[in-house]
């Protein structure tokens, strides 16, 4: 079939034409097979040229178009859209990059650059001659979303999806909902407590019919993909019957002989094996922690609502999209980091925040009233030697807020901040000003010259070379040292591995594009939000949660999904199932199926990205990549290698 092809060669305002003789390129191809028209243009992407292209395609009934211009990353989509506007299937458009690959790379050799540009345009012509019109695949999509993580981001996303009429399965690993914010007391800027926020969200959540909440629940397997994720959820029992008699339960908690570190208070206090984190916690039902419970039966004797016979359940849900909101862990300083675990009066910022809430009129630590508090910033963040190069964003604000709260709640408090430069960005800056005006003292050190914590004669002395005082060595006697620790990814991130979610260099879950696609992942149908993606404060977590909710819903809202048609295809006759293609596939898109008498590889169309990793490894050459067939690629190579 002989195509009518239109070719446009772009000057890019001189970016290309200063080094490539575009007129020579035009002449060299104008008589090539199928070329109906060749034009040079100052800016191919300009409105006028786009209109001209549409007219050309319509008037001359072109059925192939090539634009030789910049990188396809910049304008492939632009020119595909032009062909669509002209009524031509967009896969009949081929992009030739003669700017990044030619003019910019060979500005020292104009003749050579022109020669190379000609070859690249010729190879694009070779491809467009063989190009076929393609239509996207359509697959049904289950109109339901699973949200993993019941913190502020997960809960807020659940409510938003519910508003959109989308059924939600909210899966929380702990027995209580709210995640980290349940641990925080008064919050900037609203002065609401974290618990109040949890209350607002929880009451909203349980009033909705289309949200199903599982606590003590973990996703243990996933089969399926975008539009049809099949999740298996393991639900650990609370060992307490619903609608129980609460008065007796309180007695049962007192009777429990097992005491373990209370993780809710970051191990600063003890709790029983039958517990709730605080009395008004949601759901309003204590839980028994099976790891520590000795099954002694003391609680059962007191309270008929205790039921140690409850069993673990496995539940399967089917959803069209999964929204990850699994949150963060606070950084735990290494042994001896600023004297951590060596000296007895060092706590981390999360511990300190719990201390402020747990102490009433006096701030007591280790039996001693606290007056002078030293805060050492950027512990576990912005590390020069360690792996955490990132800034944890929330800690400056949080530490300063905690310092102000401490000063307001307890008397005679003096705060000393050992910082590496304060980053109370945006509206949070008012806190910094308030802290300064209130008399907090800020010292600043260079990253390679951190403050030193020392203990002599029961006095804890922090020394630093303060760059705000001409690097003079300054010292402070502190009753308590607060290590302002940042955020790190969850220690147990197995749920991420389950979905093969990629992680960034910081080990948080990675989005596709930080700016333009900030909540999508390369795993289709899975969105991420909140601090599992990287350090965020509550406001930013909720922002991203709403964004992820909308994105997750947009995948499935039509009840069917359109999938890019450029994917791999298996030639069933050639395939002998040697599994190498499945191993090479980074997206788990290939599995084995029985076809008549033999096993063959089958591509899951909704998972395949068309990356082509499976093609070269196939020993029997049984795989074809649509739009990048052997014929097409070979003809392109011929054109590139030709005269």
């Amino acid at each position: 079939m002989n195509k009518k092809i239109g070719v446009y060669i772009c000057h890019c305002g001189g970016n290309i034409s200063d080094y490539v003789d575009v007129e020579k390129v035009r002449k060299s191809i104008e008589n090539d097979e199928g070329v109906f028209l060749v034009k040079t243009t100052m800016f191919a992407c300009g409105d006028a040229n786009q209109k001209e292209m549409v007219d050309d395609i319509r008037r001359n009934e072109l059925d192939g178009v090539v634009v030789a211009s910049c990188s396809p990353k910049l304008h492939l989509i632009t020119f595909r859209a032009v062909t669509e506007r002209a009524g031509l299937n967009k896969y009949n458009y081929v992009h030739a990059n003669i700017r990044e690959q030619v003019s910019w790379a060979h500005s020292d050799d104009k003749a050579g650059a022109t020669e190379k540009a000609i070859h690249i345009v010729k190879s694009a012509l070779a491809k467009v001659r063989l190009a076929e019109s393609l239509e996207p695949f359509k697959i049904p999509a289950k109109k339901a979303v699973a949200i993993i993580g019941g913190g502020v981001a997960g809960m807020r996303a659940a409510i938003e999806l519910s508003n959109m009429g989308c059924p939600v399965t909210l899966i929380e690993r702990e027995h209580f909902i709210g995640g980290r914010i349940a641990q925080w007391d008064v919050l900037f800027t609203t002065d609401q407590t974290g618990k109040e926020l949890v209350t607002i969200l929880y009451n909203d959540l349980i009033s909705r019919d289309n949200i199903t909440l599982f606590t003590g629940a973990e996703v243990i397997s996933n089969t399926g993909c975008i539009g049809d994720f099949k999740l298996k959820i393991k639900v650990t029992p609370r060992f307490i019957k619903e609608n129980c008699h609460k008065g007796n339960l309180q007695k049962a908690i007192l009777a429990c002989p097992v005491e373990v570190n209370d993780e809710f208070n970051f191990d600063m206090t003890k709790r029983k094996a039958i517990y709730h984190n605080f009395p008004s916690e949601y759901p309003h039902l204590p839980a028994i922690d099976p790891k520590n419970c000795t099954r002694c039966g003391e609680c059962e004797k007191i309270c008929e609502s205790v039921d140690l016979s409850q069993k673990e359940e496995l539940i399967e849900v089917q959803v069209g999209s999964v929204l990850m909101a699994t949150g963060f862990d606070p950084y735990i300083p290494a042994e001896g980091e600023f004297g951590f675990h060596e000296f007895d009066n060092l706590v981390t910022l999360p511990q300190f925040k719990r201390m402020i809430e747990l102490n009433d009129s006096k701030l007591i630590f280790g039996g001693k009233e606290i007056r002078n508090i030293a805060y050492i910033y950027c512990v576990g963040s912005r590390q020069t030697d360690g792996e955490n190069k990132y800034c944890s964003r929330y800690c400056c604000t949080s530490a300063i807020h905690a310092a102000i709260l401490t000063r307001k709640k307890f008397s005679n408090i003096q705060n000393f901040h050992f910082t590496r430069g304060i980053r109370t960005y945006g509206k949070q800056e008012v806190l910094y000003a308030e802290s300064l005006k209130g008399g907090d003292i800020f010292l600043q050190n260079y990253e390679d010259d951190p403050p030193v914590v020392n203990q002599q004669n029961k006095m804890t002395v922090i020394t630093v070379n303060d760059i705000l005082t001409g690097k003079r060595e300054m010292s402070v006697n502190a009753d308590l040292v607060v290590l302002v620790t940042g955020m790190v990814p969850r220690a147990d991130n197995s749920v991420g591995s389950l979905f093969k979610l990629p992680k960034g260099r910081d080990h948080f879950f990675n989005e596709i594009h930080m700016k333009l696609r900030p909540v999508e992942t390369v795993i289709d149908g899975i969105t991420i939000c909140g601090a599992c993606q990287g350090p965020k404060n509550i406001m930013e977590s909720v922002n991203s949660a709403l964004s992820a909710a909308t994105k997750s819903f947009s995948y499935i809202s039509k009840g069917e999904l359109e999938i890019e048609p450029i994917i791999a295809q298996i030639d069933n006759d050639q395939c002998t199932w040697c599994r190498v293609c499945a191993e090479a596939c980074p997206f788990d898109a290939i599995h084995k199926e029985i076809n008549g008498t033999k096993d063959i590889a089958v591509i899951n169309n909704s998972v395949c990205k068309g990356c082509g990793m499976c093609l070269p490894v196939c020993p029997s050459d049984a795989i074809n990549l649509i739009a990048y067939s052997n014929r097409e690629i070979e003809s392109m190579i011929d054109a590139l290698a030709g005269d």
Partner: protein
């Protein structure tokens, strides 16, 4: 190693400083200051010392005296930390440190004590008047003698020892080694600054105020000379009499402008006034004005019928000589000149 002392802030606040700890060390104040140099950079550094409570560093520093308070730093401070007013407060605090009697500090810190001191001197003057049966002539004669005695004894007993203490804090204690000859060579510098305050001219916004200040100093010192050495009130010489009128007019006109600008609070320098500032300008105004009226009454023969007027003038004069000069803002004039002298010696 220097220990941080946050308590110093509380102490400084008694001398009028406020909000200086809002500073986030941007350095705008130092950048806009027309007097700050690379070698002697201020006010950020001294503000930092104040925040951290590095009292020894402040005590040995001349920088508070090098500032002539144009107020540009406070205008440009993004944190409204008022570095200009901190420098003023530090001058008060420093003069309290130099003062061996410790009375300066007491008066700066406490308005009630200042009022009591003013009342005691007023009562003393009246008691003396009663002792002399309110006879104008012997009282005026004694008052003239008192002026000379007061000037001499305040200088010898208070001001000289305090200047020596200042020298000790600034040059001796930090161990600055200077050849003795330098002390003689640089005396000129001190006299220069004492009479001209020429450094204030380097402040971009200060030119008119410098002129006011300059003629006030000339007027004040001239009036002192005319009343003490030429005995203006008793003089019959027409030149001396007219000269006295001119000088006292300069004093009360310029101070009237100072008082009214402190009331209007439009300029940075006049926005914040401590009792010591009011006391200084008001008493100087009253002194010039009452001297003018007293001489006017003498010339018109009305003074004998209006002895109260002379007593009013005398009370102001005694309060000035015994309170404001040795323990009040007058000393800033002295310390500033010596600060320039010491700075030159140190350099």
């Amino acid at each position: 190693m220097a220990a941080i002392n946050p308590e110093f802030r509380t102490e400084l606040k008694k001398y009028g400083a406020f909000d200086f700890n809002a500073c986030y060390n941007c350095g705008n104040c130092t950048a806009v200051c027309s007097l700050s140099t690379t070698e002697d950079s201020f006010p950020r550094e001294i503000l930092r010392f104040s925040t951290l409570g590095l009292q020894d560093d402040i005590k040995s520093s001349l920088k508070p005296w090098l500032c002539y308070y144009c107020g540009e730093c406070s205008t440009h401070c993004p944190q409204e930390a008022n570095p200009g007013e901190l420098m003023m407060s530090l001058r008060r605090w420093l003069s309290a440190q130099y003062d061996w009697t410790k009375l300066s500090g007491l008066l700066y810190r406490s308005l009630p004590i200042t009022i009591i001191a003013l009342l005691i001197t007023a009562i003393g003057v009246l008691a003396f008047g009663a002792f002399e049966n309110f006879q104008l002539e012997p009282i005026m004669k004694f008052a003239h003698q008192f002026e000379m005695i007061a000037i001499a004894s305040v200088f010898v007993l208070i001001l000289l020892p305090n200047v020596i203490r200042m020298w000790w804090f600034i040059l001796k204690k930090p161990g600055v080694k200077v050849p003795l000859s330098k002390y003689f060579v640089e005396i000129r510098e001190m006299v220069d600054h004492m009479f001209t305050q020429k450094r204030a001219l380097e402040c971009d916004k200060n030119r008119f105020r410098w002129f006011e200040h300059f003629i006030l100093v000339i007027g004040y010192l001239g009036l002192l000379f005319v009343t003490v050495f030429l005995d203006w009130f008793a003089s019959k010489n027409i030149f001396i009499i007219s000269f006295g009128y001119l000088l006292s007019t300069i004093v009360f006109v310029v101070t009237f402008d100072f008082v009214s600008s402190r009331m209007k609070k439009q300029k940075e320098i006049s926005k914040f006034s401590q009792p010591a500032d009011w006391l200084f300008v008001i008493w100087l105004f009253l002194m010039g004005f009452s001297a003018f009226i007293v001489r006017l009454f003498i010339d018109t023969g009305l003074l004998d019928k209006n002895i109260w007027l002379y007593f009013f003038h005398l009370i102001i004069l005694v309060q000035w000589a015994l309170i404001i000069v040795p323990f009040g803002k007058w000393t800033h004039f002295l310390y500033r000149s010596f600060a320039m002298y010491f700075a030159k010696i140190k350099a």
